[in-house]
Symmetry: C2
Subunit: 363 residues, 2 copies
Amino acid sequence: MASKAGKKDTGQSERPARLIDVAQRAEVSRATAARALGGYGLVGDETRERVLAAARELDYSANVVARAMRAGKTQTIGVVVADISNSFFSHATGAIIDTAAKAGYVTLVLNTDDDLAKEVEAVRVLVEKRVDGLIVVPSSPTQYDHFVLKGELAKPLVLLDRRVEGLRVPAAYTDDRGGAKEAIELFLARGHVHIGLLVATAAARGGVEASQPEGVVSTVTDRVAGALEAIKAHRAANPAIRYSRSTLEAAHSGALELLAQKPRVTAILATNEEMALGVLAACGELGLVIGKDVSLVSFDDTPWSKAIAPSMSVVKRPVSELGNAAATALIKAIRGEGRSRKIELATQLIDRGSVANVLKRRR
Amino acid sequence: MASKAGKKDTGQSERPARLIDVAQRAEVSRATAARALGGYGLVGDETRERVLAAARELDYSANVVARAMRAGKTQTIGVVVADISNSFFSHATGAIIDTAAKAGYVTLVLNTDDDLAKEVEAVRVLVEKRVDGLIVVPSSPTQYDHFVLKGELAKPLVLLDRRVEGLRVPAAYTDDRGGAKEAIELFLARGHVHIGLLVATAAARGGVEASQPEGVVSTVTDRVAGALEAIKAHRAANPAIRYSRSTLEAAHSGALELLAQKPRVTAILATNEEMALGVLAACGELGLVIGKDVSLVSFDDTPWSKAIAPSMSVVKRPVSELGNAAATALIKAIRGEGRSRKIELATQLIDRGSVANVLKRRR
DNA sequence: GTGAAAGCGCTAACAG
DNA sequence: CTGTTAGCGCTTTCAC
């Protein structure tokens, strides 16, 4: 490859300068050059200048791979998410990338499509790559063998958005149970009696189901639990529930099913952006007006939620903060500084215009 | 760190097994073990079995860093985008990650916030990391020194979404000029005379301006050029234009300014999601009904565009295909197979319900 | 203040 | 079919 240099006009230029090239040009040893470049140890002032000049002249770029091999650390972290193109994950990942970068780490990103097999493979690849740590959005609420090597974690690990039963590692997630509870309480306070839950099951498989599928992640169970908690506390009627695959199409069908309930549901809690969009589409189709015929609250404060008419009430989660917290916790773990356990961030109910008040006058 | 092993119950287990450990356990040389594991060269059947068994027993995970150092290739590519949390970039990046993974590459992602200095730094870091190639969304339409080492590209490079003047490398982008042209022609065909352009300037700086800022990327100039082309071809009146920073707030102000034009603008082309949202918000505020008082077409087909009422007409760009194409071109370049130059993908005008027909009867 | 040398874990000649 | 060996480029004791 590089041997054809100099002949063709497209011939590769000579291979990048190495430390030894810099050392020779500056007429010092590799050790001295390394010290000057690395800014550690003792180096004479003029020697340092000479080395720096040589490095500049040669366009020297340290070979971080060699350094990593020597040091046993790569200054790289791995992020494993269900799907980077999903806005929740892309925002969280963006925050992780930035926080990690500030601490001198670069970030490798892999998708799993919420498929455990892909997650296992992703973790294997990242461990082979010798990342210094991992941030994972686990696709299973119970499986964690792939993180463990010989009774120990293969790498420092922080869970994001979801917890894994029995895995005692730091996890950054939001209080979705509380968020769902608040949303339902808002419905109840406004007089809604027939409430519907459109629950995204993060899983890529399945369509729409009336009962909770197996192996559903913690965010799903938390949100349902929170909603039911509110219902029970207020002795309200059981809500209609549909578990839907997290796509627009499935959400649409799910919403239609909810809206077809005998005493029609007048308020729906959608557990993510796709579910909310499904409700909007279904209502549009049925000629039902949001904020009037059907009230709606959705998880996650998307940019469009305040631009539409009526603007949508949401349970906002601090997504960037979540990513930052996960990255910070991971870097701490990598550096061996203390061990954060659980990082639970609060959600915030933002009531905009999509929840009608159907309260009758006090009789 | 690892030296405190065995004492505390949290003590790290012994360091990961190396090739030599596997070789010893299987009672063969490192070379033989490597051959068996790597599936190349000649190895006796039972020998191979023994090696594989030993590797399994030791939970051997090849050290890819060492391999990379030897091989001079890291099987890693770098992706440099303005902001991974932006839906366009996250979708494109998702496609890149998946395509690269299929070809055996993992992906490092860095953000620039459309800041050239950050871009330069990102490229430096990635080159130090010895990535095998780079996919960059350039933040400047003219600067490219940071990609060049000694008259040569530092690494195989593919541009994404935007072109750079004078830089002859493969670039994957969409025909935004054509897309804008079609959108304007739709307005014209429906009888709109006073047309507005709300143009996102990708730059993080600035607010709202009436004339084109300096150093704006190719997508911006392409879209404006396409729109003006359509206007000129039909001898229509010059459009009102606002260049806006790509945030909801700036877009909102920009839309308000457009809507305040003397003969009021009846149709607006928004050049991205944020701009469209700004128009929606502004219209909501002014009590103007989309698809009736104000017609709207936006670039990029977002999930919410079809769920709102009326659904929004858009210039759809094949985002995932764009990412795939960029990744494929890069991998080709890395492998030295041919050199794709420009990859221009077509846009598609999807007319939904946000463009009113204001045509008067033929007189 | 500077240099010599060992070695991180792996692979690819080259022998046998 | 299998073993020996020489590095890839860097850092880091340990001498001087």
